[in-house]
């Protein structure tokens, strides 16, 4: 693949679109360019998928020296794990910008530039093969997100956005320290000082060092996921974020945490991972049950979905730290599905809010009478979120549970299963109170979804059912790569819970 | 030509430096403070010259020329700021100029 730097194109096309948007004035033209940029990025990432060979490791690699004296390079590449995330990312951004076309009228130019920059940052995180480059993108993505919540957000947007940024920065600074430590430890032992992720992953590190570095990475990723008890920025950020901000936040930003665990924590620090397994599994189960119980009592729709995210992402960490093939694959599927489903749910809530200007469950009711199309789609995504078999949500949960049962301690799996009762409870109860029953007088004259809004949701719905009916189409992308991760972590010197 | 011993240079430089420092710390008029800063600079310059002679290294004297030039420029800019400040605030008492207080 010498000819075309396709990953760079996927990465930088949105930036090019953003530059053009700055020069334009007309709303239609600006949206046209933005949609085009996002669409091209999506098409190219689908092309990468088409040309991708499952199991052949890192592909489409590009690398140029950046600061050779320090061993820093501009290096991109995809394997199955990152490919799925990039696909999810470009897909959601494409839909979000289309959705914004129908809804955003306030500071359009700034909005589009922010969104496109955000896309660049997130794509970069998944594509980077150099730690410095990775870190740059990791931080870069914070700024547009900060702006997105801070400018287009709700009433308490300043509080929420500062909390979000500070919380995330706290984690990522620790990660930066650990990256530097990794650089020096690796350099001292091998003589080659490099930030190359692949090379660093090959190395072996002492147990004490692993533990310290693991904790630093863990905090960064656990805050992103977010795991209980580092989750409290999430509800605030979601409640204040604009609709598309919530979609991106829940859809992709959270996945960066899970991606980090799979890509870095497990292969880099297998011994530390094994030592931390029990603790992380415990936190995961707590997140599943606790998030669901807290979600049950929320009065604000967005908060409810935010806490449901905490619960669902618990299955991701549960799967990853089971260190089994099924668990890791389940975590990947759960991330993919959660991105689609929760993104769609936030779109639904956004549409609800656009019309009723209310997000409090108690003030809604009976909306199914007026909006049959919306009611059907909202129910569909609620059921997908519950983990109804046949839709995408079930696949990840099921496989993560299979993985959890494979650890020597079955109690994690057994407890986590009860999360599926609770998730059904809060979602169905919410749906009942919002959509069923009798219609409020104030909502009698509201319109059902427009064609554009319906199209966005239907696009998500199709992928959701595809991933539910034939998940193998997605699993085969990454299963060879997660297998490598699993072998790496199970090659640890320290024994974990899984009997060898 | 009699060259005084290094100690005299250093003593003179130190004296100038301390006088300047005390001026900066004690005086309230901004113009005086500014002149005291010039004194500190001169103290350093004298020390430079002294070492240059003692070590027979012309670089020290070159530095003095250099720093004098910088000091002249600094004086010009500094005085301009002080004049502007004096016009704006109608005082040169440093106690009253505390806009940067946290």
């Amino acid at each position: 693949m010498e000819s075309l730097p396709i990953l760079s194109l996927v990465l930088w096309l949105p930036l090019a679109a953003a530059v053009i948007v700055i020069l334009l004035q007309d709303r239609r033209a600006m949206f046209g360019v933005a949609v085009l940029g996002a669409a091209l990025s999506l098409l190219l990432s689908v092309a990468v998928w088409a040309a991708f060979e499952p199991g052949a490791g890192m592909q489409f690699q590009e690398s140029f020296a950046w600061l050779p004296a320090l061993g820093i390079q501009y290096a991109l590449g995809v394997d199955g794990i990152s490919l799925l995330m990039v696909l999810l990312n470009t897909f959601l951004f494409f839909l979000c910008i289309i959705y914004a076309w129908a809804t955003v009228n306030d500071r359009v130019k700034e909005y589009l530039v922010t969104m496109l920059l955000l896309e660049v940052g997130i794509t970069g995180v998944f594509l980077a093969l150099d730690f410095v480059l990775f870190y740059v993108f990791w931080e870069l993505m914070l700024i547009p997100m900060y702006v997105l919540i801070g400018v287009w957000g709700g009433e308490r947007r300043v509080y929420a956005t500062i909390k979000f940024v500070l919380y995330t920065l706290f984690g990522s600074l620790l990660m930066l320290v650990a990256i530097l430590a990794l650089y020096f430890v690796h350099g001292n032992s091998t003589g080659t000082y490099t930030f190359d992720i692949l090379q660093l992953t090959q190395g072996t590190y002492g147990e004490v060092f692993q533990l310290w570095a693991f904790v630093a990475f863990f905090l960064a990723f656990a805050i992103k996921v977010p795991m209980v008890p580092f989750h409290t920025w999430l509800p605030d950020a979601h409640v204040e974020a604009p609709t598309t901000g919530s979609v991106i936040l829940a859809g992709i930003l959270l996945k960066m945490g899970g991606y980090g665990f799979i890509r870095f924590s497990l292969p880099l620090f297998p011994d530390a991972s094994q030592l931390a397994q029990t603790a992380v599994l415990t936190l995961s189960v707590i997140a599943i049950i606790y998030g669901a119980l807290v979600a049950l009592m929320q009065t604000d729709l967005k908060k409810l979905i935010a806490y449901s995210s905490v619960s669902h992402m618990g299955f991701v960490t549960l799967g990853i730290f089971s260190f089994t093939q099924q668990g890791l694959d389940g975590a990947m599927m759960q991330m993919f599905s959660h991105g689609l489903v929760t993104g769609a749910l936030f779109l639904c809530v956004g549409q609800l809010y656009e019309r009723t200007h209310d997000r409090l469950i108690a003030n809604l009711g009976g909306l199914a009478h007026r909006w049959p199309v919306f009611a059907a789609l909202f129910l569909y995504f609620s059921l997908a979120s519950i983990g109804l078999p046949g839709l995408s949500g079930f696949v990840g949960e099921f496989m993560a549970l299979v993985g959890a049962f494979a650890t020597g301690v079955r109690v994690f799996g057994v407890l986590a299963v009860f999360g599926i009762i609770l998730s059904a409870a809060y979602m169905l109860w919410m749906y009942w109170r919002v959509m069923l029953g009798s219609l409020k007088e104030a909502h009698r004259r509201l319109e059902d979804l427009s064609v554009l809004e319906t199209a966005v949701l239907v696009a998500l719905a199709l992928v959701v059912i595809w991933a539910g009916v034939q998940p193998q189409a997605f699993i085969q992308i990454f299963t060879a790569d997660t297998s490598g991760v699993m072998q790496a972590v199970n090659a640890a010197q320290v024994a974990g819970l899984v009997p060898k | 030509m009699i060259i005084p011993a290094l100690e005299y240079y250093l003593l003179l430089g130190a004296a100038l430096f301390v006088i300047g420092l005390l001026g900066v710390l004690v005086r309230r008029n901004l113009l005086i403070v500014f002149m005291s800063i010039e004194l500190i600079l001169l103290g350093a310059n004298v020390t430079f010259v002294g070492f240059a002679v003692a070590l027979n290294n012309m670089l020290g004297q070159a530095f003095v020329i250099f720093s004098l030039t910088v000091a002249a420029a600094e004086a010009a800019v500094g005085l301009a700021i002080i004049v502007a400040l004096a016009r704006h605030r109608e005082t040169l008492n440093v106690d009253e100029i505390d806009t940067l207080r946290g």
């Binding site: 299979v402 049962f405 | 403070v33």
Partner: protein, 635 residues
Amino acid sequence: MINVAWLVPLLPFIAFAINGLFGRAYLKKTTGLVANAGVLGALVVTVLLFLAQGGHPEPETVTLWTWAASGDLTVNLDLRVDALTLVMLLVVTSVSFMVHVYSIGYMAHDPGFWRFFTYLPLFVFAMIMLVMANNLLVLFVFWEAVGLCSYLLIGFWFERRSASAAAVKAFLTNRIGDVGFLIGLILVWHVFGTLDYDEIFAQAPAVASAMPGMLTIICLTLFVGAMGKSAQFPLHVWLPDAMEGPTPVSALIHAATMVTAGVYMVARFNPLYVFSADAMIVVALVGAFTALFAATIGLAQNDIKRVLAYSTVSQLGLMFMALGVGAFTAAIFHLATHAFFKGLLFLGSGSVIHGTDEEQDMQRMGGLFGKMRVTGTTYIIGGLALSGIIPLAGFWSKDELLGATLLAGGAGYLLFAMGALASLLTAVYTFRMIFLTFFGSTRMEADRFSHVHESPAVMTIPLLILAVGALFAGFVGVPPEHGLIHDYLHDTFLAAEAAGLMHAPSTAFVVTLMAISTVIAVFGILIAFSIYLRKRPAPETIGGAAPFIHALLVNKYYLDDLYDLVVAGGTRSIGWLLAWFDLNVVDGLVNLVGVVVSLAGNGLRRFQTGRLENYAFSVALGTALVLAFYIFMVR
């Protein structure tokens, strides 16, 4: 013929897709025809399949695609056709078709007509897939899918608060069962290393001897799933509430097909269950207890559909009792006959509700027979079959499963006593219902009574066809233990035979038992006749004689209230507590960090005086200190 097996689920699915996409805007009333065509197609293909597979069908499977392959976990989407599947398919598609035809009349004036005929074929599709599944995961997938359809159809009239509540209750109660199922499923995978039926069954004996405890746990967790779906105590509470749905739904989903999925599952996994005597006895006891328990509640209910709902719970309990003693064929036999006569009774009650302008309270009916002769006649046939009167369908199957408990010996005598008592009560409440509804003098207002009318032909013809089924379906099991169905299912339940659970009763035993069964049923009908028609003793005096027991029965042993208080209320309380904890403690700690930092900043800003000389002084002092350090310490 196996190659076209996929047509069976596909046709209803196509009907669902067409109605779902175009029903609201374009098809409207035509949706009924589309749905009927789809289900009829499935019925026809099933019959063809049945004929083509011959008298002793070998299990055949066809793989559609790989669902997921991760490491050593591979799950294929397979369809399976064997004797048990075919029996189930015949029951499901035929009853479904009858209900679809009937619904055209019953739902004719409902604004949600198209929606109804979208959900109903979706259910048929899911139910067909459930019985055609060839591995546990696909079974689970469609197990939940039928649950979803049940949720949608119970809450069909979603503007009614009680309907939405019942729908959510049904889904959540089923989910509790499904947790058991899911745990069992995952354990099966870890123990057997596969989820495919045949591979599991092949390994069952080895696993049974290597880890009998684990096998019992697997059987019991799977049974928890069956308890949820088939409404067995203590997870039965959702089924009576499910009567909030339209009556055809109650007939199809909550009597004839979906609720029998639990029975089907245990029967399907007979090669596992026969190796766990502990699990078997639990299944039998839960079944027998539920049968008796639900029958007693059925005695005191006044809503015609609720009586039938408790009756369904009770009959399902009898089926589990049979499964528990190893009489798998008898259970499936009863499942099939029950589908016909209970479907008939529900559709009949729907016809009554339809003809009396939405009246469901039997205390405000009476004397309807003269006005609704077809409905009344078929209803009585269904009632006789349910009570177990020779030679109707229910007699043969119920007789056989009661006999099986006796033959099992030991705890079987207790089971027999419970089952026999439940049968007696069944006859009582069934004929209480019939007498209160159709006979005696009417308790309706005169003008309403004058408007009572027989239902249209599109509703009565399915009743007549099902009545024929209720009359004659039992003959597939005659003579007892050696009928057609026994022969047909013989290979499916070989494991039970191998485990010594099959008994060959003597002719004398069979005849005696038939006599006892008949006496029980007739006695029950006579009791009902005496109390509710002759009023000797009058029903009020019985209730008055033991007010406590009467209150207990009317209020369903207060179990629903207990669940509301403890389970629902408890969960909400914990949720409320944790939400408070999250907002104030967890997030409080985060905000505390923020407060501490800003307080520290507030303190430190005092050093930032803004005065030049202070800064200069600190610079000087700092320099002096550094110098002093170097001069005095470092040297």
